[in-house]
């Protein structure tokens, strides 16, 4: 049986090829990709892009933004623009590392809890509740203060704080997918737990967890820079954005010292949130903005 030809109205943007049409339909995703891509590019090529050494001090302190120093100079005469560019080398890889670690730990633990249930489930989920009971920032502050204020410990503290949300989501998904007939039959056929989890369950968990992880990247940048702002992350000579804003609070009248590092945090987080939200549209229609379902 042949399908009768229906004349399709071709819109002008559709004729321009698939890329242009994708950009037209998902402007947020494209904006997010472009901004995030630009920052990743900056992070990789910071030494080539930065006009000055981010640590080099000079006698020209508190110079307002000008052609010589796009973002001005700080209290030690360091070039704020170069420091912001170099800051990407800290914040972006650390956020990626943090989310990956939290996802691996939380995901594995949650999958095991959901698959086996019983005592394992009870133990894992109660430990997750224990972490949830604390306000995240207070727990993270205590951990970094106890271990010593370094970037590594700040990441560690935030992993401890953020793995439970992944464990919870993955556990819930594994529980619901585990009921499906094809999973039950795989188990009845005597497939190992590991095989069932990886081959049959994981693909179903992938989408929602990817959305969560992308949105969490933004949060990771916010929390990491927040800890550094409080003096619990990156230490003074390091060009870190949160620490840059903290510097700005001390030299209040020289607005450029704090404003530009903060703007960097804002644009990076916004880009990750644009991406995460667009992914949610594509992968999780239930809670997407364009469908307007239940936002959970």
């Amino acid at each position: 049986m042949s399908v009768p030809a229906v004349p399709i109205k071709v819109r002008s943007w559709q004729r321009r090829g698939p890329l242009a049409s994708a950009a037209w339909r998902h402007p947020l995703a494209i904006a997010g990709l472009v901004i995030a891509g630009a920052w990743i590019f900056i992070a990789i090529f910071a030494p080539l892009l930065a006009p000055h050494n981010p640590l080099a001090q000079s006698a020209t302190t508190f110079v307002p933004p000008s052609w010589g120093h796009f973002f001005g100079t700080d209290e030690l005469g360091r070039d704020v623009f170069s420091r912001v560019l170099y800051g990407a080398r800290l914040s972006i890889p650390l956020a990626l590392l943090l989310v990956t670690l939290a996802l691996l730990i939380g995901g594995t633990v949650g999958a095991i809890a959901g698959y086996f249930g019983g005592i394992v489930d009870g133990f894992v989920m109660r430990s997750a509740d224990l972490v949830f009971a604390f306000p995240a920032i207070i727990l993270a502050m205590v951990v970094t203060a106890a271990l010593g204020p370094t970037v590594r410990n700040a990441v560690l503290a935030l992993v401890i704080v953020s793995w439970p949300s992944y464990a919870r989501v993955v556990r819930g998904l594994v529980l619901s997918v585990g009921e499906a007939e094809y999973v039950q039959s795989a188990r009845l056929l005597g497939k190992s737990a590991r095989r069932t989890l990886i081959r049959d369950i994981l693909p179903n968990v992938f989408g929602p967890v990817l959305v969560l992880a992308t949105l969490d990247l933004g949060n990771a940048v916010l929390l990491l820079s927040g800890l550094s702002f409080l003096g619990l992350g990156a230490q003074p000579p390091q060009p870190e954005w949160g620490a840059g804003v903290a510097e700005g609070t001390q030299y209040f009248q020289y607005w450029w010292i704090g404003t530009f590092p903060g703007l960097a945090i804002f644009t990076v987080v916004l880009a990750f949130n644009f991406l995460g939200d667009s992914l949610r549209d594509a992968l999780d229609p239930q809670s997407s903005w364009s469908q307007g379902g239940d936002a959970e």
């Binding site: 947020l28 009971a133 604390f134 306000p135 995240a136 920032i137 207070i138 502050m141 205590v142 203060a145 106890a146 933004g218 916010l222 820079s225 927040g226 702002f229 409080l230 003096g231 619990l232 949160g242 804003v245 903290a246 700005g248 609070t249 209040f252 009248q253 607005w255 704090g258 404003t259 903060g262 703007l263 945090i265 804002f266 987080v269 916004l270 949130n273 644009f274 939200d277 809670s287 903005w289 364009s290 307007g292 379902g293 239940d294 936002a295």
Partner: protein, 290 residues
């Protein structure tokens, strides 16, 4: 030996279960231990710092609920129009802004440049605090009829409260929008419109009322966000609240104080979630019956 005397004084030479038992025993008697940093009982410290944060948090959440719900309703009504798309960006922007950064920028603009609002602290240095009733300066001053003091306290409150509200505005816009969209295409809404009811009345009386339970759920989350934000914002605004206390006790590893703050936050969180459950029944009588 000093170390041994110290360990004995705080009961650290006893087995852990005994220590925990002692802690619980003291806790139920309202004794949270002594802060090693301020050398005063943690319960007294909390009593001193909580009102400052409470004043900030209440105003901030009220603002966030009002603005967030309004924006959410507008986005839902104008669904898929330009306004909706712009509000999506506003909502995502709200949750993307580093709180400590907007605090700094807004202080610079509204205090340092424009001088519209006072800078740091709860009152101007020359203003004496009002007599203590609730610890909330605006309320205390109003009770005592010191209107100039109340006005001053309110001016000090505006900037940090708005800064703290930014994240929750983004969150509430999103939740309200999807909650409204879920009910807006129902038959009873169409019926209300069909009988010629003006659109604002339809939205407020029929749509918003039905959407309220799902929005109220987020209030607990909004409170958690305000607590996180308070740690950062109080730091910048020199606001003598629980956020600063948490920061100082965490960085000095003042364990009794950390435990006290965590307990307080947990209790407030439970109380808020309980109130939310009660509110459900008020908003939606069907829940009360079942």
């Amino acid at each position: 030996m000093a170390v041994q005397a110290f360990r004995h004084h705080y009961g650290l030479d006893k087995p852990l279960p005994v220590q925990y038992g002692t802690y619980l025993w003291r806790l139920v008697h309202g004794d949270l231990g002594e802060s090693q940093q301020t050398h005063s009982p943690v319960s007294r410290d909390l009593g001193e710092f909580i009102p400052a944060t409470a004043e900030l948090a209440i105003l901030s959440i009220l603002v966030a609920v009002f603005v967030g719900m309004t924006l959410g309703v507008i986005a839902a009504v104008k669904r898929n129009k330009l306004t909706d798309h712009l509000l999506r960006i506003v909502s995502l922007g709200g949750v993307s802004m580093p709180t400590f950064w907007i605090a700094l920028v807004s202080l610079y603009v509204f205090f340092f440049r424009l001088n519209w609002l006072p800078g740091t602290g709860r009152l101007d240095a020359v203003v004496t605090p009002p007599p203590h009733h609730t610890g909330l300066y605006t309320l205390d001053a109003a009770i005592s009829g010191q209107w100039a003091t109340a006005w001053n306290a309110l001016q000090h409150l505006v900037l940090p409260a708005l800064v703290l509200a930014a994240y929750n505005v983004g969150l509430l816009t999103r939740y309200t929008r999807s909650a409204v969209l879920e009910v807006i295409s129902n038959d009873y809404v169409r019926a209300a419109r069909a009988k010629g009811m003006p659109e604002p009345v339809v939205i407020v009386r029929h749509v918003l009322r039905a959407a309220l339970p799902s929005v109220v759920t987020v209030i607990g989350l909004a409170f958690a966000n305000v607590m996180t934000g308070a740690v950062l914002v109080e730091n910048i605004f020199s606001w003598p609240g629980i956020g600063q206390y948490a920061y100082h006790s965490a960085t000095t590893l003042d364990l009794p104080a950390i435990m006290g703050v965590s307990l307080f936050v947990a209790v407030v969180y439970i109380v808020i979630n309980f109130l939310v459950d009660v509110l459900y029944g008020v908003i939606d009588p069907r829940i009360r019956i079942s």
